[in-house]
């Protein structure tokens, strides 16, 4: 498959329409990253280009890797009348995403009490497999969470109104319908609200180690002398169940045997099933917004408990797995399309109506977490992204080694020691879990951010490195 992609510029590879593809497909990557892409991932990208109603081109970002159905690190836009919506194009972890917080706590002050803080936050933010939220959630409450998202959290004392302005969609998807979510999904969601979960999810206290654009950094509230916080998690079992439920419903209604992969199952956007899935997905997106809002609140409390008065402000909260209706220019015309982002970050430039006033001039903050213990990036959205990638850029580093292989090669204790020697403290419920997320199993995040920057679909603002990590 790889040989079919032709390099057309330093950072762009392209395959023209062939064998059932309705549009071409494009990969944004450096030579180094392109060479490392799995064949599977490119086949999946090609398959996406065969789906009904797809517009302009199927896109892969520099962190593309093999997923199921759609690749991870991909974007596709579908015509609202002719096109489809596919749970596999969003992912099981609906609104897996990340939020970045800035504080006025000086790095040296933080370091003095780092371990005490780590213990405090580990206690306050439930993490790990099977982690349960700290509050008892009734079904009624949960339905409210699904309808209102982060707004529910703020109304119930988890944070302040200003936080909502700095959340994608203001923390609430307008078309969310709790009634579209199955009882099984609700049952999975109730005990887990307000928990980090496991896998690649983490909470990191960071510092800024490089500033690329001082002016924008200042507008985003970055102060190089103070610590920042990154929270990476999603919609937990509720989101996974919503995806799974609708895959089954779509299979029954529309079949899958005509598709190159069963995981590409989909429904016409304007069908009842398509609309109901969108409402259920939106409800799961809201669950994740509320989840991160609650975790942010407990992070604030942890700072107060250890350091006294500390100002903790949200920079932005972005979704990495989501479908949205957005206006984009296609064949010279502005058109509303259904954008699928699976492992991709929205990267809107200045002036987009979706952005809050504070980011109207700058473009939106784009947050790309690295793997546990490595660097992360804060970028800014661009007009160029709107022109070439439906206003999207990369979402992370992307794995290069399976968890199974990682376990064979690394030991948790050794990962801990390596990080400790680099002056990064880590806390995790499991040594094995730590080994699976060893920094070496991920692609080079610097390379991913550079591609985004050089293509112009997300410009580098600053690079963040961890001081301590809670591994989920």
């Amino acid at each position: 498959m790889k040989e079919k992609f032709k390099q057309i510029s330093d950072y762009e590879w392209r395959i023209e329409k062939e064998n059932g593809m309705r549009v071409p497909a494009i990969v944004f990557a450096s030579k180094l990253l392109f060479d490392a892409i799995e064949e599977d991932a490119l086949t999946q990208l090609r398959n996406v280009a065969t789906l009904k109603g797809i517009q302009k081109h199927a896109i892969a970002l520099p962190d593309i890797h093999s997923g199921y159905g759609f690749p991870i690190g991909g974007v596709a836009a579908f015509d609202i009348d002719e096109g489809v919506i596919s749970p596999g194009g969003i992912g099981y972890d609906i609104n897996c995403g990340v939020r970045l917080l800035v504080t006025d706590l000086k790095i040296e002050e933080f370091i003095k009490k780092r371990n005490q803080f780590l213990d405090e936050i580990f206690k306050n933010v439930p993490s790990g497999l099977g982690s349960k939220g700290r509050i008892r959630v009734t079904k009624e409450m949960l339905l409210d969470v699904l309808a209102k998202g982060a707004e529910w959290a703020v109304e119930n004392g988890y944070g302040i109104k200003e936080d909502l302005t700095k959340t994608e969609e203001y923390g609430k998807m307008p078309k969310a319908d709790p009634n579209a979510v199955s009882n099984r999904a609700l049952q999975r969601g109730m005990p887990q609200l307000g928990s980090l979960g496991s896998g690649n999810h983490f909470l990191e206290i960071q510092k800024v180690d490089k500033v690329f654009d001082g002016e924008i950094a200042e507008k985003f509230g970055i102060d190089k002398s103070c610590v920042t916080v990154m929270i990476h998690c999603g919609s937990r079992g509720l989101g996974h169940q919503v995806a799974s439920d609708y895959i089954k419903i779509m299979e029954q209604k529309f079949g899958w045997k005509h598709l190159p992969d069963r995981e590409l199952v989909n429904a016409p956007i304007n069908s009842d099933v398509g609309q109901t899935y969108y409402s259920a997905m939106s409800a799961a997106v809201n669950y994740a917004f509320a989840n991160r809002q609650m975790i942010m609140h407990w992070t604030r409390e942890s700072f107060y408990n250890v350091f006294g008065e500390v100002k903790v402000d949200l920079v932005y909260d972005v979704a990495h797995n989501v479908a949205k209706f957005e206006k984009h220019k296609i064949d010279g015309e502005i058109k509303k399309v259904c954008i699928h982002r699976k492992g991709a970050t929205r990267s809107f430039g200045p002036g987009r109506e979706e952005l809050p006033e504070i980011y109207q001039e700058t473009g939106q903050p784009v947050i790309i977490p690295g793997s546990m213990g490595t660097a992360s990036y804060l970028l800014v959205g661009t007009k160029k992204a709107e022109e070439v990638s439906f206003g999207s850029t990369a979402h992370g580093a992307g794995r290069v080694m399976s968890r199974h292989a990682a376990l064979k090669q690394f030991r948790g204790q050794q990962v801990y020691a390596t990080l400790h020697n680099k002056d990064i403290e880590v806390k995790s419920a499991s040594w094995k879990g730590l080994a699976e997320e060893a920094p070496q199993v991920y692609k080079d995040i610097d390379e991913v951010a550079n591609v985004s920057h050089n293509v112009g679909i997300g410009k580098k603002v600053c690079r963040l490195v961890p001081l301590c990590v809670i591994k989920g």
């Binding site: 890797h65 497999l129 896998g199 079992g237 799974s244 069963r262 995981e263 499991s430 094995k432």
Partner: protein, 138 residues
């Protein structure tokens, strides 16, 4: 015969093959393979049982729904799997007794399986050996 093995092929997810001298045994071993990503099932005490009845439209969806039930029981009841017994498969219906423990705080949990997928799912019989192949999202 191995119970199961990981292919290591999928870098972001996990792909395994489980084997059995019957379809039932291969399904049961697939459940253990999935559990092994999250915890050491050998160490889980056989303290409690859950009787399950699963339906599917075809064998693949039966396998998908069976594995999903194990994730569901973990999320909602903290149920950790030790073994699968009395498993019967007929007409795309499955009955089994899951044996395990809900005292989750007593065990080391290291990984998470978010969901079962249909990606490259296979259910095959070669000579007398049944093989099921599954990719789970982790």
């Amino acid at each position: 015969m191995k119970k199961f093995e990981f292919t290591g092929k999928k870098v972001a997810d996990a792909q395994f093959r489980a084997y059995g001298s019957s379809l039932e045994e291969a399904f049961a071993n697939a459940a253990l393979a999935m559990a092994s990503i999250m915890y050491d099932y050998v160490k889980i005490k056989p303290a409690e049982e859950r009787e399950i009845k699963i339906e599917g439209n075809d064998l693949q969806s039966l396998l998908y729904n069976f594995l999903e039930e194990i994730l569901f029981l973990l999320d909602t009841e903290n149920f950790l799997l030790h073994s699968v017994k009395e498993i019967k498969i007929k007409n795309n219906q499955l009955e089994a007794v899951l044996v395990g423990d809900t005292k989750i705080e007593n065990y080391e949990l290291f990984g998470q399986v978010k969901a079962v997928t249909y990606n490259e799912m296979k259910i095959e019989k070669e000579k007398d050996i049944y093989m099921v192949q599954v990719v789970v999202d982790i």
